[in-house]
């Protein structure tokens, strides 16, 4: 079930160069999302931009919905100009969401990927070991708010301005290397494709289950246009793969199943 509804912006703030935070109050009763789901948000009032844009739910309860996004192109640029009190139209909650963690778990977030993982941390407080990396300390947004939900946390930045210098996957790899007992924890990840590819190598090596939220261009968000597919392994098919819709069968897939 999902809905198309208006919400009112009650907070709309720039949280660093090119990052924006939006807190909305739905004007209708909503269907509560589950972690890892997303919404399509209308950006602007005219036909340009034409499509709604997909954003993970960052935080929520029955009375508010929060989004955290990077200002990238014209859609996010218009959305970042949302004024307090303004109406925003959304469609959602959409997608499958993350499976429930059985106990403790590991979270690997690359940059704005943190937005998708926050609800997991929040609804399983002090259960996650969080690895969160970004280009620099400015882009390691909301790090205090997310890290306080984790059991342990580790930061990395490309320039070493905060946390360890280097890639978050390197940090994670070294961590596993020296904490062999933790390889039985499932990993939840969201970030760039290169990050996820490296993560796949790592998790395959250690036979760790890893769930990753992936991105693809979307038109409808509800499974109707078939525009957002990615290749997923399927050995029942002679080709060895099938096209799965990121908006419907995803955005969360078992990382090992992605056919890259």
């Amino acid at each position: 079930m999902n809905k198309f509804f208006p919400a009112k912006a009650i907070e709309s703030v720039c949280i660093g160069k090119n990052f924006h935070f939006l807190r909305l109050t739905p004007l209708e009763e909503i269907i509560l999302p589950i972690y890892g789901q997303f919404y399509m948000l209308q950006c602007g009032e005219t036909y340009d931009p034409l499509l709604k844009r997909p954003f993970s739910i960052f935080d929520y309860d029955a009375t508010y919905l929060e989004f955290l996004f990077r200002v990238k192109g014209k859609g996010t640029s218009l959305l970042s100009q949302t004024k307090k009190g303004q109406l925003v139209y959304l469609l959602g909650p959409l997608g499958n969401g993350y499976p429930q963690p059985p106990g403790d778990f590991i979270v690997v977030a690359g940059g704005i990927g943190i937005a998708s993982l926050m609800p997991l941390l929040k609804f399983h407080q002090k259960r996650a070991i969080l690895f969160y990396g970004a280009r620099n300390s400015d882009e390691l947004v909301m790090r205090d708010r997310v890290s306080e939900m984790a059991k342990h946390y580790y930061f990395s930045t490309d320039d070493g301005s905060i946390g360890q210098q280097g890639l978050i996957t390197d940090l994670f790899f070294n961590f596993l290397d020296s904490n062999g007992n933790l390889t039985n924890l499932p990993v939840y990840a969201c970030g760039s494709t290169p990050m996820l590819k490296t993560l796949r190598e790592i998790t395959e090596k250690y036979h760790i289950i890893c769930y990753a939220s992936v991105e693809e261009y979307m038109a409808c968000g509800i499974g109707a246009c078939l525009g957002c597919v990615i290749k997923i392994k399927n050995y029942d098919d002679i080709s060895g793969f099938q096209y799965s819709r990121v908006c419907k069968e995803g955005p969360v897939f078992a990382l090992k199943d992605i056919f890259w």
């Binding site: 999902n2 198309f4 499509l51 693809e216 409808c220 109707a224 096209y243």
Partner: protein
């Protein structure tokens, strides 16, 4: 004066639609995807995603990209095939009690025939819409809808194997759309629908490669509306069978443009993606427009353009 609810009924061949608003193939899935957002029963008719005889995987991603006021897509006609459609999707659609129009295609004349036969005589399928904008396996250089002779052949072949109302969906990528419509009419079509998407391309200037894996794709959305209205107008002047107009329809005003130039019904495509309630809002908008302008029947709007 008392305001009587205007009559929106329109006829496409032997089908009676309670209003002239249908969905455009490929933009409404198999209907069920939109059940959360609208009362599907209120639609004039439902047109499902194009089917081929066997399931088709479609093109590799990326499959779509936004362009100014439009989208370019190269889904590549991914679909579940006739058999699965009839088994898994049709029962739901049949229950809606509105006309169900099945869009289909093939990559050869024999594929078209096989698919049309498999869809005919199935309870719950009320009409066929034949998509002829597909590459022709047998004559590599053309798609069925751009070459007059091939087009005639394939329509006549399908006509022979089905008694269902046959709508031929025209491609806009031609010099003379009225001529193509005439050929469809002469070859036995009961109606034509237009426009399908216009072939376009977009380039990633950093990677220096096409943004769609398939290189080119089909342009749809508000951007193409003026082209679609012109083509529908040209076709309405040229043929006698009913015309279903589409291309960029987003509001009831857009829909009225198509009806005024002569379309008997319209289809809403890309707009469903950014407004899942678009079809219903358009139906409501047309009804209000008739009410406010004291027009009792949609027929008084259809083809009413003054030149």
């Amino acid at each position: 004066m008392e305001n009587v609810k205007p009559d929106l009924t329109t006829k496409i061949a032997s089908l009676t639609l309670k209003n002239p608003v249908m969905t455009a193939s490929g933009t409404f899935g198999y209907g069920e995807e939109y059940a959360d957002f609208i009362e599907l029963q209120r639609l004039g008719a439902i047109v499902v995603k194009g089917l081929s005889y066997k399931p088709k995987k479609g093109n590799p991603p990326p499959r779509l990209i936004e362009t100014p006021c439009g989208i370019l897509n190269s889904i590549g006609l991914q679909n579940i095939g006739v058999e699965t459609f009839i088994k898994e999707k049709l029962p739901f659609l049949r229950n809606l009690q509105i006309p169900v129009i099945v869009n289909f295609f093939g990559d050869s004349i024999s594929e078209y025939i096989k698919t049309a036969e498999a869809l005919s005589g199935v309870k719950g399928i009320d009409a066929l819409e034949m998509n002829i904008s597909c590459p022709n396996k047998e004559a590599q250089w053309c798609i069925f809808g751009t070459d007059a002779r091939t087009m005639r052949e394939v329509i006549e072949a399908v006509r022979r194997v089905t008694n269902l109302p046959l709508i031929v969906k025209l491609t806009p990528n031609v010099t003379d759309i009225a001529l193509m419509a005439k050929i469809a009419e002469d070859s036995g079509a009961d109606a034509v629908s237009l426009i399908n998407t216009i072939t376009g391309m977009a380039v990633d200037i950093i990677q220096r490669k096409p943004l769609l894996a398939n290189v080119t794709g089909g342009l749809s959305g508000p951007a193409i509306r003026p082209i679609a209205v012109r083509m529908v107008w040209e076709v309405c002047k040229a043929i006698k069978i009913p015309v279903i107009g589409m291309g960029g329809i987003t509001t009831y005003k857009d829909a009225l443009e198509f009806l005024i130039v002569g379309a008997k019904a319209v289809a809403v495509g890309t707009a469903n993606f950014f407004n899942p309630r678009a079809t219903i809002e358009i139906i409501q908008g047309i009804e209000n427009f008739l009410l406010e302008n004291n027009i009792s029947h949609i027929n008084q709007v259809i083809g009413s353009i003054k030149l």
